[in-house]
Structures are given as structure tokens and as C-alpha cells.
Symmetry: C2
Subunit: 228 residues, 2 copies
DNA sequence: TATTGCTTGTTCTCTTGTTCACAAACTCGC
DNA sequence: GCGAGTTTGTGAACAAGAGAACAAGCAATA
């Protein structure tokens, strides 16, 4: 009996959001159950891998039938620690920061953008429509505040996630400020390796990196399967 | 003698862009050589791993000294197939598409945004300043064209990379159009699994996925090292 | 209740990736 | 030219992950 809280391998953790997304699509289409084979097809992975991954969450399938879509979604959420909303602050309201702020997909997926800060006085006060998980309340707005007020803002709004969308040279300072403000995890778009305490998990999304990896597989075109 | 063109493991390929970025930073600071230990520090990985990774490119270090920064950068580029510029077309000129188009970092890193297409007639004709690898020629512009002209545009500008920044429901159609136009690799921001021929490598960048992975490690905070 | 058909959960094997540890090889100062 | 100090490149041990295969278990039907 492994129990639901046994260790989940890193490789599995990286795939759980993919399964979650596929399950959400299935639920939207009205499907109530799904087999590992179908789930694997839709997620583009091996079926045995799907079953093994899901077995780490507990034994929630029914032999001869498959998995209950809604219930499995809940188990994935529970395993990932997606309990309620995790509020997000965006640091840097430039090209990318504005795109992120205007993007409704965050709130829909449980990560509402609750605050935005920038260092540029001209940007302070700009208003952005806010979309929470429960529909869009058109009247609610997020106002861009000065980065110096970061700690205050994080505390007042109980924000736990920081997104860095500043230029590269300001990214480490932004990370330091976020850590000092008590943020619990960081997603950065700046192409630099951040120096943060081990207790603060962080990930980097770098488009040039992705394109460079693609470049390699393109050069080897046909001879290798893409590893996404 | 493994030779420079022996197989490079997937895990290594995924790290090469990181090394490349660190090396570029070092070169900018005027450093001419670097040891595996220092490179590992800056990249946030194990030094032995760095040496093993680099050994797949060939034997380019000097014992007792380290690696020549400029030369190693060239070797990484060669291995990744970064020969000259790989021109990019962006499909979808919305929030994200505009941010990407206005972002100079692409061109600087060898992936100039050479064309943009959208399905919305209102967006056709919009001009975006273009930044090539060699400085910014303020007069050059990229004009948003209709998505129906995609094949033509791709052919005329010798574009090899497609970036999908359309809404989720249009992503597969965009992918199909890109493949039909003869694109060689695809980077998608839509949170869906694309169905493309095996000969076209593709990768997905999904922010919600990243945040969900962070959520897991945050819940296990302190007990686990982030795996980025 | 027995039988049939299907799908999970898990075991086992193979492959890939990581890390340690150290000989080989190079530089530099003397 | 030699010795001291450094750093690479790689063999070997170890860990993690992938995938095939199949027994166990459930549903449905008769
Ligand atoms: N725009 C893109 O499509 C894109 C793509 C890939 C990566 N990136 C990366 O994302 C980051 C942002 O890109 P961008 O195009 O939005 O840049 P940008 O210059 O348009 O915006 C940066 C914003 O950060 C603000 N800022 C600067 N220093 C700050 C600080 N110390 N604290 C708070 N705010 C600060 C600036 O005032 C500005 O509003 C960069 O690191 C870039 O490399 C962007
Ligand atoms: N904006 C963000 O910060 C962000 C973050 C994460 C993911 N995404 C994803 O990126 C994608 C784009 O997001 P967005 O906020 O820019 O959306 P958006 O609605 O602002 O822009 C989408 C654009 O695509 C165009 N389009 C629609 N159908 C098309 C088609 N068939 N061919 C060509 N163009 C078409 C639309 O006209 C529009 O201009 C979405 O899939 C979204 O989930 C966006």
C-alpha cells in the first residue's frame, strides 16, 4: 500500500499538469470516464507511463472501465497542491508583463493576477481588467503599483507566487525583492539563472532556449523524436 | 575518439542553451576562459555534469586551464545547429503575439521575427519595428499579414520556424497551416497537444503548467530541490 | 453464478542520466 | 627541464525513468 502521500517522482510531477489539462478538456466535452490508453493518446505519451504516473496518486482507476474524469482531476489537483487560488504578482509591466496581465488564462487555471508592480513611474496607476476564476467581474481592476511597495502588496493580498517580467539586468533584484517580501515560488521570463534560497522553488521560461533546442532536433530532422 | 558528431543525449541538448547563455554573459564581461567548476556554478548544475555534457561536443578544454569561452560558444552553436539566422513567423497577433513581436531578444539570439500573420482583418497592416541580429535598423518594419498568405510569406522569406500565439481553439489549425507551408519546427504557447508529423519537432510553453509544477514543490517546500 | 472481455496496477528488464573519483595532461614558476 | 598545482575527460558505480508484459480485478451478460 503506497498511500496517496508517497513520494511522487519528478518526471511524474512534470507530466501531471499535462494530464490535468487533457482531463479538463475531456470534462468540458462531457466525458465521464477515460482509459489510460485514450489519455495517453491525447497527452502524446506512452499508456504504461500514464498508468504508472497515476498510480503514484493512489489507486483510483477501475479495472475494466478506466478512470473517472472529474475525480481524477481532483486527485491531480490535490497532488500538485492546487488547493484554492494561488495569487500572483507580476514584476515588470513591459511588453511581456502587459500581455501576461491581460491574459485571462491565469485566473481560469487558479492563479489570479492580483497585483502588478513596476519601477517606471509612468506605468504606476495603469489599470488592468481582472479576471478571477469565477467568471469576469468587469468592474474589478488591478492597478500597477511601485516596486517599492512590493512587500506591502504581497502581504496585504496574501500573494504567494511571483512572476518576473523585468529586463534581464533587473531580474536578480526582482527575485531578491520577491524573496524578501515572503513569496513562496517564482516563475521568471528573464534569461538568467537566479540565486534564491533553496526553500523558494523557481523555474525559468526562456523562449530562445526553446528555439535553440528545436534547432537541434530540426537539424537531426526525421531521425529523432521530439522529446516534449 | 568519439568525434564531434557522435550522438548527443537529449538531457545534454536541453542544457546546452543554458551553457550558451552563461558563456555569452562571460564573454560580455571580457572573460576569455572558464573552468567547468565556474561554469557549473553560474549555470546552477553539477560540475561533472558540465564536463560530461561538453565532452559530447568534442574535446575542447585544456587541462589545468579550462575552456576558451568564445571557442566553446561556437562549438555549442555548431552542435545545436545554430548556423546563421533562423527566421521566425508568429501566428496570432494578440496580447502575447504583440509582446513577442516587440521583443528584441529573439533577433539578438539568432531568431529574427521576419513575418507575422493573423486572421483578424483589423490587425492586418499593423507595423512592428524589426530588430535583426546586427543592431536595430529603425527603418525596417514587419507588417502583419493575413493568415491565408502564410505559405507565400514563409516561402518568400525563407522562414523555418513557426510560433503559435493564437487562442487554444485555433492552435491545431495554425499548426496544420504551418506544416503545410513547409515550416521546420514549431513553438506553441497554446495549452494543447499538437498533432504534427514526426518530422516537425515542436515544443510547448505553457505558463499554467509551470505554475502548477511550482505549486507541487512549494507544497513540499524545503524538502525538495527544484529540478529546473 | 459462471464466463467473457476489458483495463488497471505492478513487476521486471532495459535504457538513460547523474555523480564520484582519479589518471592524464597542461601551465607556470623556478 | 622539473615539480607543484590545476583542471579536464572518462570509467565505473549508482539512481532514475521508460516500456513491455501480465496477473489481478471489475463489469456486463447470460
Ligand atoms: N517580450 C517578450 O516577448 C519576451 C520574450 C522572452 C523573454 N522575455 C524576457 O522578459 C523580460 C521582459 O521583457 P519585456 O519585453 O517585457 O521588457 P520591457 O523592457 O518591455 O519591460 C520591462 C519592464 O520592467 C520594468 N522594470 C525595470 N526594472 C525594474 C525593476 N527593478 N523592478 C520592477 N520593474 C522593473 C520596466 O519599467 C519595464 O516596464 C526580459 O527579461 C526579456 O528577456 C520577453
Ligand atoms: N497572453 C499571455 O500572456 C499568454 C500566456 C500564456 C499562454 N497564452 C496562450 O497564448 C495564446 C494567445 O494568447 P493571447 O492572450 O495573445 O490571445 P489573444 O486573443 O489576445 O490573441 C490571439 C490572436 O490570434 C488571432 N487568431 C485567432 N485565430 C487565428 C487563426 N486561425 N489564425 C491566425 N490568427 C488567429 C486573433 O485574431 C488574435 O489576434 C493562447 O493560446 C493563450 O492560451 C497567452
Amino acid at each position: 500500500m503506497p498511500g496517496p502521500s508517497a513520494a511522487v517522482p519528478d518526471a511524474t510531477v512534470e507530466r501531471l499538469p499535462l494530464y490535468h489539462q487533457v482531463l479538463a478538456d475531456l470534462a468540458r466535452e462531457g466525458e465521464t470516464t477515460v482509459s489510460s490508453v485514450r489519455l495517453a493518446e491525447l497527452a502524446g505519451v506512452n499508456a504504461a507511463k500514464v498508468r504508472k504516473d497515476l498510480s503514484f496518486l493512489g489507486s483510483y482507476g477501475t479495472r475494466g472501465v478506466g478512470y473517472d474524469v472529474e475525480f481524477l482531476m481532483l486527485q491531480v489537483q490535490r497532488t500538485l497542491g492546487l488547493t484554492g487560488d494561488a495569487r500572483v504578482v507580476i514584476v515588470g509591466f513591459g511588453n511581456l508583463g502587459q500581455a501576461l496581465a491581460n491574459y485571462g488564462g491565469f485566473g481560469e487555471r487558479g492563479f489570479p493576477v492580483t497585483a502588478i508592480v513596476d519601477a517606471d513611474p509612468d506605468k504606476i496607476g495603469t489599470q488592468v481588467p481582472r479576471s478571477d476564476a469565477n467568471g469576469e467581474s468587469a468592474t474589478e481592476r488591478v492597478v500597477v503599483e511601485h516596486v517599492e511597495r512590493l512587500a506591502e502588496v504581497v502581504r496585504d493580498h496574501k500573494i504567494t507566487v511571483g512572476v518576473i517580467a523585468t529586463p534581464q539586468h533587473a531580474a536578480q533584484a526582482a527575485a531578491d525583492a520577491l524573496v524578501a517580501a515572503g513569496i513562496q515560488s517564482i516563475l521568471s521570463f528573464a534569461p538568467v539563472v537566479l540565486d534564491v534560497p533553496e526553500s523558494v522553488p523557481w523555474r525559468k521560461v526562456d523562449l530562445a532556449t526553446e528555439l535553440q533546442i528545436l534547432s537541434f532536433y530540426q537539424a537531426r530532422s526525421g531521425s529523432l523524436q521530439h522529446p516534449a
